[in-house]
């Protein structure tokens, strides 16, 4: 974060404020927190953590149970006869790997297109006052309020007429465009914090507007671009409804959400395999998420706390 943010490029207010916040909090804590208070805080946080991860540990637990004992009233996390049978069965007997591969293709395509669309538009919204700008921003906000089910019939018809049912293309385009409004808001907020002086200097040196954008704004916005990439990525990775209507009938290109859902139906629940699949699908996303959470926080809050 430090080497990438605008705060680091020009030692301006946020960087100093951050340093002081750290020191201030430190002193407050040393003077204020008695050992008992500290103990209470740790206990509370531990309790919350248990409540947070227990449902997830249960999924892990179910995935490790052998097939004949899936439904159990035991609360133990690691069952006494743990086995990887469910994982083997999932990988061997279902198209799980195919589903993950399909999801990955769609997701990567979406994230690339989404970032490209949003980063340029956000730049226009951040740097120019053009007619229709405010109306545009309000429209982008309004799109966030559209219930997903509202667009499903029209988008299905649109896909049907353009022969996009059962193809990646329909989904990639739908996902990347529907993620654009939120991405633009995030990026615009971040661009706003980049001092204009940096661009002006480059413009005086004779660089064009787009060269300035490419060489100055984009490199400085890496944290927020990462967030937008991640946002597009997770949206597409986890999406279920549109995948169902666009890919529903073509099994070869099902995403993992569609695939796992079939393992968890009302009358024929493959709990063990479902849980194993859930664990396998979740781990990479969680790693990506925890790794980027630093950027995530700075990118989401910087846009709003400024000046």
């Amino acid at each position: 974060m430090t080497s990438l943010s605008p705060a680091a490029a020009t030692p301006s207010a946020p960087a100093r404020a951050g340093g002081q916040a750290g020191a201030g909090a430190f002193f407050r804590a040393r003077r204020g927190d008695s050992p008992i208070k500290r103990l209470v805080i740790h206990l509370t946080l531990t309790l919350c953590c248990v409540a947070t991860i227990y449902p997830l540990l249960r999924v892990l637990s179910v995935s490790l149970r052998p097939g004949d004992r899936l439904l159990s009233t035991s609360l133990r996390i690691i069952p006494p006869d743990a086995s990887f049978g469910n994982y083997q069965e999932l990988l061997a007997d279902t198209d799980f790997l195919l589903w993950v591969w399909n999801s990955l293709m769609i997701t990567v395509g979406t994230a690339i297109v989404g970032v490209a669309l949003a980063s340029t538009s956000a730049y226009a919204f951040s740097r120019w006052r053009f007619p229709g700008r405010n109306a545009g921003l309000i429209f982008l906000l309004t799109t966030q309020m559209i219930p997903a089910a509202m667009l499903m019939v029209p988008l299905y018809m649109l896909a049907l007429r353009n022969d996009l049912i059962g193809s990646y293309r329909g989904l990639i385009i739908t996902y990347s465009v529907t993620a654009v409004p939120f991405s633009i808001w995030i990026l615009k907020g971040y661009y706003d914090t980049i001092p204009r002086e940096l661009e002006e200097a480059a413009l005086i040196d004779g660089a064009g507007r787009m060269a300035t954008f490419w060489r100055i704004i984009l490199p400085l916005s890496t944290p927020s671009l990462a967030i937008v990439f991640l946002f597009n990525f997770t949206q597409a990775w986890n999406e279920y409804l549109f995948a169902r209507i666009i890919l529903g009938s073509t099994k070869e290109i099902w995403t993992w959400t569609l695939g796992l859902q079939t393992l968890q139906q009302q009358f024929r629940t493959e709990w063990g395999m479902f849980s194993a699949g859930a664990i396998l699908v979740t781990i990479p996303v969680v790693i990506l998420f925890l790794y980027s959470s630093k950027y995530l926080i700075s990118g989401l809050t910087l846009g709003s706390v400024k000046g």
């Binding site: 804590a29 953590c49 947070t52 340029t120 997903a148 667009l151 465009v177 699908v281 706390v305």
Partner: protein, 355 residues
């Protein structure tokens, strides 16, 4: 495995093909914008329009056009029987002979679907008002608990202590987990016999609860699941905002003898306001429109657990009343829009960000 290998190459070509397709279309759009605005109109803002053109075209095709289409659909009697065949569905205009006159023509013919939303059951039995009130309760409970929980955890974490990174990483997890998986996992835990809520209740000597079939318990289960899912987002956002507050304020307050609560009330709260307000607006919209939690937790399809968006989905895709569902969708959309506009007008949020 064979199917995966067979699909590997077609997938790659299709994904790369899609990206190339988008690049070509973008280039075409840029060319048209350049020729029309730059050469013919000699617009001052040519670069701006070229920057926003691709996203604008995308949004026009995938958001604006479908919305207009949906608007037209809401005035028709389209349903599954008539699906896809244009000649079979028509504008909800009464036959010429029996058409009522005046106001009745508007309510009985042109806007029949819109009036029906309020007049007839939106699903089998349940009418609009109970579903709406339930949605308000659902949104209210969730947002209050999200903010309270997120604020509490952020305050606890906003201090130097051992294990802070670990706590934060663990507490963030529900946000990182794919939502469908988290919700389906929670649904399993509400099982009457094998879910751990009832196991714990039984072990404590209490009667087990029918989470999936008792309307009130099912609603409680929905809220519990969504609170678990939503608190981490608030916590992360508020913690980020709190960490950007300068420590000097607190030092000055302490010298003046302000206690912990007073510091929170008069320093923390006002200073995180610019982050808190948009987070609440976004949280409200997301909760109001949350589909996964109410849809999947409500495994037995109780009409008494449906909120507006799930009722909308069922009206469209289970009862296949497309024309009616389109009108229903617009009613929901307008309600949410009205709420947000009022909220923004009261708090002045947008002024700040469109500055």
């Amino acid at each position: 495995m064979d199917r995966l290998l067979a699909q590997l190459f077609p997938s790659l070509t299709e994904t790369v093909g899609t990206i190339l397709f988008i690049i070509v279309v973008t280039a075409l759009i840029e060319l048209i914008v350049y020729l029309v605005l730059g050469r013919i109109f000699k617009s001052r803002h040519l670069l701006v329009w070229m920057l926003i053109a691709p996203a604008t075209v995308g949004l026009a095709i995938l958001i604006v056009y479908p919305l207009l289409w949906e608007m037209r659909l809401s005035l028709t009697n389209m349903s599954l029987r008539r699906f896809g065949d244009k000649a079979q569905y028509f504008w909800v205009v009464c036959a010429a002979g029996e058409a009522p006159q005046g106001l009745a023509w508007l309510t009985e013919c042109l806007f029949k679907n819109f009036v029906d939303v309020f007049r007839l059951p939106v699903l089998k039995q349940v009418t609009f008002l109970p579903v709406f009130l339930r949605t308000v309760a659902w949104t209210g409970f969730n947002v209050v608990l999200h903010v309270a929980g997120g604020m509490g955890l952020a305050l606890l974490l906003n201090r130097p202590m051992r294990g802070r990174g670990i706590y934060r990483a663990l507490l963030i997890l529900p946000w990182a987990i794919p939502q469908v998986i988290a919700v389906l996992a929670w649904r399993g835990e509400f099982h009457y016999e094998y879910g751990y809520f009832n196991i714990i209740l039984t072990q404590l000597g209490l009667a087990p609860v029918e989470w999936l079939s008792n309307p009130l318990a099912n609603f409680g289960a929905m809220v519990a699941t969504n609170v678990w899912l939503g608190v981490p987002f608030m916590m992360v956002i508020l913690l980020g905002a709190m960490q950007s507050i300068s420590g000097e304020y607190y030092e000055a307050a302490e010298i003046d003898g302000a206690g912990g609560y007073q510091q929170w009330r008069h320093i923390t709260l006002p200073l995180i306001q610019p982050v808190l307000t948009p987070a609440i607006v976004l949280g409200t919209i997301w909760t109001f429109n949350n589909f996964n939690v109410p849809f999947f937790i409500n495994q037995n399809e109780l009409e008494t657990s449906d909120i507006l968006v799930t009722a909308l989905f069922r009206a469209a895709f289970e009862y296949n009343r497309y024309g009616f569902a389109a009108a229903f969708a617009f009613v929901i959309f307008v309600l949410l829009l009205a709420y947000v506009l009022i909220y923004i007008a009261l708090t002045g949020t947008l002024k700040e960000s469109t500055r």
